[in-house]
Each structure stands twice: as structure tokens, then as C-alpha cells.
């Protein structure tokens, strides 16, 4: 379970361009839920997601993952959470362009503290679950947008994280491809994965069982 309590995030604190992106945001996401976070541009959606992903910090409040207070964790423990407990899918895919699909999917396995001997098989399995095993050896630079996003999803799930975070996963895709990607997320959710999707697209939000709206840094 993921729990946020009174989270406040301010950029450039005590400077002339100080800006509070999140104001006392509280949110609980239960295991197995598929939640959409919607809002206009600049509402604080991505900031919230990045805090959930442990790649951004916050000034006040509490963030717990499975009852563990994140702020008290060391850099090493945070890295482990990012690599093993959370899978992140970005709008622009965030793939290493000159690596193949398989090499990209294997990255979280390579970075994990406990190395698994069958990393290649696991990566191929993840690619298979998103229907891309035949493109495993192709450089991602040569893949379409939809294929890239599938690779990003495969990378996000290969370590079997308990939480999958997606930041505008269909933002750069056409309608048909967006629908295919959402099908993948729904299938993962059916398998028990907790999924949080940040989107400004109401069609994407409609497909989630829960919708959280954020406006001017606050949950509506």
C-alpha cells in the first residue's frame, strides 16, 4: 500500500521564484488498484508521481510504501525501492536509444542488488508479456512509438515491482496505439499489479477504477 499524508513540495524554496507544486496532498493507494491522476498542465500531477517514484523529494509530510517511511531511508535503500519495488513508465519512454529492447529491459535486473542467474529469460518473459519478444534484439531507436512504450512497460515490470507508475504513457501515441497500451496496463492490473497513471486524457482516466483529480497542487 502507498500512503501520502500532507505532502508539500516547493521548488526553489526561499528564493524569488519559489513555487509550491503540491500543498498538503494526502492520498492512499491500495494494493491492486488502478488509479488515474488527472489535472491540467502544471497542476502537480508529475510532481506527485515523481515523489511516489522516489526520484524527487518533498519538504513536509509523510510518504509510506508498505508502512515504510520513505524519508528515513538511506540512498542505498531508496535506490533499491526504485529498482525493485517500483516500475516507472515515462511519456518519452526514457529508453537507452542505442541499446536493444532486450538490453533495455535487462537494465533493472542488472542494477538489482540480488542478481538473478536467469536475467535474460526474465527479460524475454517481460517482453513476451507485452507482445514484443520477436523484437528483442532490435535497437529501440528503430522501434515505433507504441513498441517503445511496450518496451518501457516491459522494463518497468521485469523486476516484478509491487507498484507501477506511468507518467502520461499515451501522451506521445496515437489513439489506436494508446488503446493497445492501456490494454497492457489493464492486463497487468488484472494480474494484481498496483498501477498509478498520470494523464490529462479523460479517455485514459475512464479506464481506471479510480480517478484522482489534482488542481493547483491540491487534490480536488
Amino acid at each position: 500500500m502507498v500512503e501520502l499524508k500532507n505532502i508539500t513540495k516547493t521548488y526553489n524554496p526561499k528564493k524569488a521564484n519559489e513555487f509550491t507544486a503540491l500543498k498538503n496532498v494526502s492520498l492512499t493507494i491500495n494494493d491492486g488498484e488502478m488509479t488515474a491522476i488527472i489535472g491540467r498542465s502544471g497542476a502537480g500531477k508529475s510532481t506527485l508521481l515523481h515523489i511516489l517514484a522516489c526520484i524527487d523529494n518533498y519538504q513536509s509530510g509523510e510518504y509510506r510504501i508498505d508502512d515504510t517511511l520513505v524519508k528515513k531511508l538511506s540512498e542505498r535503500e531508496l535506490a533499491r525501492i526504485r529498482g525493485e519495488k517500483i516500475g516507472m513508465v515515462m511519456q518519452d519512454f526514457a529508453l537507452v536509444e542505442d541499446f536493444s529492447a532486450l538490453e533495455n529491459v535487462m537494465l533493472p535486473l542488472d542494477f538489482a542488488r540480488k542478481k538473478k542467474s536467469n536475467r535474460r529469460d526474465l527479460a524475454l518473459g517481460a517482453l513476451s508479456s507485452v507482445g514484443l519478444v520477436e523484437l528483442a534484439k532490435k535497437p529501440v531507436s528503430k522501434l515505433s512509438g507504441g513498441q517503445k512504450q511496450r518496451v518501457a512497460i516491459a522494463r518497468a515490470i521485469v523486476n516484478e515491482p509491487s507498484l507501477i507508475l506511468a507518467d502520461e504513457p499515451t501522451g506521445a501515441l496515437d489513439t489506436k496505439t494508446s488503446a493497445e497500451i492501456m490494454d497492457v496496463f489493464k492486463r497487468l492490473n488484472d494480474e494484481g499489479k498496483t498501477i498509478v497513471i498520470v494523464t490529462h486524457d479523460p479517455n485514459v482516466a475512464k479506464q481506471c477504477e479510480r480517478v484522482v483529480e489534482i488542481s493547483d497542487g491540491e487534490i480536488v
Binding site: S46, M90, P108, A112
Partner: protein, 413 residues
Amino acid sequence: MLLKTAFKNLKKNPVMNIVCLLQLTAIFLITAVMVSSLFVRYRKYLPVKNFLEMNGVFCEYSFFSGAELPGTATEDMRGSVQTFEELRDFTGARNVFGIKCFYASHSSPSGELLYDDLPSELILYNDTFIDRYIPKLARGKWLDPASDELEAVIPEGLYGADVGDVIDMLFDDEHVKVKVVGVMKSGEDFLSLNSPRARTYDYPKTYRSLYDAYYTDIDDGNPPMLLSESVLQRLCPETRTMIIAAVFDFGGTDIPLQEALKRAAQTGGYTTALESINAASKEYIHTELMKLLPIVIVLMVLTVVSAVSVSAIAARRRLRDYAKYYVLGLRWRQCALVNLFQTLVTGAAALIIAAAGLTVVGATPLSETFMVVANGWTFLAVLGVFALYLIFSMIMPLIMLNSATPKELLQTE
């Protein structure tokens, strides 16, 4: 895992990596040439440094000199003083060592004079010199004072001989076989202690006067052959050789310098205190280095800036990838290590290429054109720049990563 990631990253963008590699190689080569240019000023001083730091007198003899100092004996002692031991006993010096010369002609195996070939000037080194001084050879080995054969080091192509050959010579009327053990490197100066060339421009006298040019154009004059004085004396005791230069070591005696100069002058030569040659030598080197220093400093600064900028540019390019690795579970310090490993591999490759290039250039006549001396100091300087490059490769990404969040890095184009 980090090393594996670094290697994988290196496979990306090979063109850019090759450009970085070439830039680094150029930086290392410039460093080597800079250090070499400094060392070249020192190179010829080092073999004679020990002599020049002694408490003693340097004495040069010519065919026509008599005693030089007023009030001293005017008799030319060279008629009665033939050996370095006799010079030592005569002057009361602790030790005397030096160089003799002689002229010999090429003969047939049966001892017939070969008029078409120029006579050779034999430069005979005292054993102490042979132990302390080894000139640069193109092939073969240096003289061995314990040899049972009369060995010689010759210029390239002298009398058509090479290493291992035996040259028949006439020493006055005596037929002598001389075995070639080494060939001098063309154009390399050798220690003659009596350079007529130096007298015309080297004042006050410095270490440069002690060297003579080893011309391989043997038609220019009497090509010098280098031999051991003690072996010649042992094998050809009747041969009367001429002392051309001697170093009198008065260290450990209580003979003051002026007295030492007087005694050495009585043997019939031009005398100079070693300390004044040493002082003038150091002054000369200092002046030469000072001329070079501004250029070296500027080049060093440019080299360091280049090394740092290569490191910074490479780190900057990889920042977005490091942000991705961060999201996937690496820490920033681990990302910096990945960067370090990548730069280590690139730097090591550049180092190997530069070292290979320096070695090849050092072994060819190009080393004179490019003033390259491939020795320990040069490699140490290059390693120093390499270490600097590695340190900055470690620090740069950390500085850059500290000034931007992963989110910002991922959002940049």
C-alpha cells in the same frame, strides 16, 4: 555490473567515442613532447654531472700546448707522462680519468694499407668513463673493458663493417684486428671531452664542450672509432697513444683548488676548475629552461583544460542516461562510477596509442624532429595527465548531477 554498463555505453555512439579517444591521445602526446623538450636540455648534462660535481680540474691537451699558467713549469710533460696513473702520481690527485686518441688506418687482412679509406681517429676511453657513460647505439652493445678482444664502436658503414665483423687496422706499423661490437646512432653526440666545435661558441665552458658530433658522413674527416684504453694498452703495449683530455679528481686530498689547477696545468694542458664548468652548465640549462617555461606553462594549462573539457563534455552527454539509470535503481555515486569506468577505458586506450606512438617515434629519426624523449619522466607526466583526467571524470558528473534533479535531466532534450 557497473563495468558492464560502462562497456555497453561505450559501444553506443562509436564516432563520438573515437573523437574523444583521438582528442585524449593528442593531449597525451602534447604532454610528452612538452616534457621531452625540457628533458632534452638536461639530457647531455646528466652523464657528466658526476664528473662536474667533483672537486677537481678538467684539463684539455692539444698537440701544441705547453704549460699555461705563468710561473709554472714550461716543459711539456706529455713526453714523460703517458698514462693516467702517471698523471695521478704527478699531480697528487686521488684519481685521474680521461680520453686518449690515436690514429689508425684500414688495412687488408694481410696488413697492407688500404689507401682508399680514410684513417680513423681512435677515441680511447678510460675504464671509469666506460662504466659511467654509454652513448646511444643504433645496434650492438657498448665496450667491455674486461674483453680479451680489442672491441670498437664505429659509425654506420665504416669500412663496410657491421656488428660482429672484424676490421683489420694498422696501428703505426702494427697489424691489429678490431672487433666491431656496436654501431653509433647517426647524428648522436658522443663524449670526447675535447670538442674543437665547442671552443668556438661555448664560453664560459659548459658541459656542451665535452661532447662532439658523431658524423656518419665518413667522407667528412677521420671517422672516430670508440675503444677501451685499457684493452688497447693490454693487447698493444707498444702503441703510443695521446692523452687529449683528463679529469683530475682532487676530492679527499687537502690540495686547494688553485694548487690543483697549477699542478694540472704543469702536465701541459688547458685547465678549468670543474666547479666553474658545472656552474656555467647549470646557468646555461637554467637560461634554456626559462626560455621554454612560458611556452610549457601555456601548453600545460591548455592540456589540463582540454582534459577537463573532454571529461565534462562526455559526462554532460551521458547525464540523461544516468538519470534513466537513477530511475531504474542506481545511486548517483554509482552513475559517477559508470562514467569513471567509461573514461578509464577511453583514457587507457588513448594512453596505449600515445605510448605506442611515442615508442615508435623515439626509435626513429623523427625523435630529433619532434624532440621526443621516451623515458620515465615523459611517461610519468603523461600518467599524471591521465590521472587528472580520471579525477575530473569522477568529479564532473557528481557536480552536474548535484545541480539538477533526475526529473529535470529526463525532461531535457
